[in-house]
């Protein structure tokens, strides 16, 4: 790097907020900008100030990265589709009289608590201004896969018969399991 304190401080601020690869890419661009101003005759300190000003406030850059973070996009998609799944599974469970199924109360309570944790995590990611927090969507997707899997297992083991709402809910959950599982690596490394 140019070795100017202003640029080093700027990159250190970005490094606290963004993944290492993104910071490396920004650092290269910042050096290009610094050299660009030096070639135009700016003194070193003015060139460093102009380069950092051209890049923009670190908070602005972070917000731009967060808006497009894979974790945030996944969280928004899952939250937006949540009411559809709630309606599908709610209809399925009511139509099949799920309260009569031989499922331990502890398992039902654990399912409900985990669902609340997942929703809370997805809301936190959707509202987050921190890039690192968007990675919370990875574990949330993992838990959601387990919840969908648990619901499918409950239907397979405990439901006396398939109701018509289940014919919609089951494929919907299978699709969500596939999409959520596929997005986890992208969220955790993105």
């Amino acid at each position: 790097m140019a070795g100017h304190q202003l640029i080093d401080d700027y990159l250190a601020e970005l490094a606290r907020r963004l993944p290492a690869d993104d910071v490396d890419e920004l650092a290269d661009g910042l050096e290009e900008a610094f050299q660009h101003y030096r070639q135009r005759g700016f003194p070193v300190t003015s060139a460093a100030a102009a380069a950092t000003a051209e890049f923009g406030d670190p908070a602005l850059i972070t917000r731009a990265f967060v808006r497009r973070a894979p974790g945030r996009r996944a969280a928004l998609a899952l939250l937006a589709s949540g009411p559809v799944f709630a309606a599908l599974w709610g209809g399925s469970l009511i139509s099949a009289h799920a309260w009569t199924w031989p499922i331990p109360h502890g398992a039902t309570a654990a399912f409900g608590a985990t669902l609340l944790v997942v929703v809370a995590a997805l809301v936190a990611v959707a509202l987050s201004t921190s890039y690192r927090r968007t990675r919370l969507a990875g574990p949330a997707c993992g838990l959601l896969v387990l919840l969908d899997g648990g619901m499918l297992a409950a239907v397979a083991l405990a439901a006396p018969a398939l109701s018509w709402p289940m014919t919609l809910a089951i494929p919907a959950s299978l699709v969500r399991i596939g999409l959520a599982a596929r997005s986890i690596p992208r969220i955790l490394v993105g």
Partner: protein, 114 residues
């Protein structure tokens, strides 16, 4: 946000693709190509161009690769075949749109109605 940046919002993707039409570029060079190509009107905060490039990469319209330049890691981007197709389509759409708008804006003034 500056008016130019606001106007740019809906067109940023295609302009970034166009900046790569002549070959691979790194992020800062792409941003400079936008600024110079627009006569200085499209001068975005440079740091915000990178997330847009990452989004295009996730959409597989461009492909990025790392290299080492002067001891620094550099990420450069090139158009994918899908990106080339998208750019060609967007260019055709834009020409059609511009022709239609020009046809309306540059015709003779409407006659007075009363």
């Amino acid at each position: 946000m500056r008016p130019e940046a606001q106007a740019l919002k809906g067109h940023l993707d295609v302009l970034l693709l166009a900046a790569l039409a002549d070959g691979p570029q790194h992020g800062y060079a792409i941003k400079e190509a936008l600024r110079e190509g627009s006569g200085g009107r499209f001068d975005l905060p440079t740091g915000t161009v990178y997330p847009a490039l990452h989004r295009l990469e996730r959409a597989e319209l461009i492909a990025g690769s790392w290299s080492i330049v002067d001891g620094r890691r550099r990420r450069s981007y090139r158009l994918t075949d899908e990106g080339k197709r998208r750019l060609a389509g967007e260019r055709a759409n834009w020409r059609e749109f511009a022709r239609a708008v020009t046809g309306i804006l540059e015709r003779n003034p409407w006659p007075a109605t009363s």
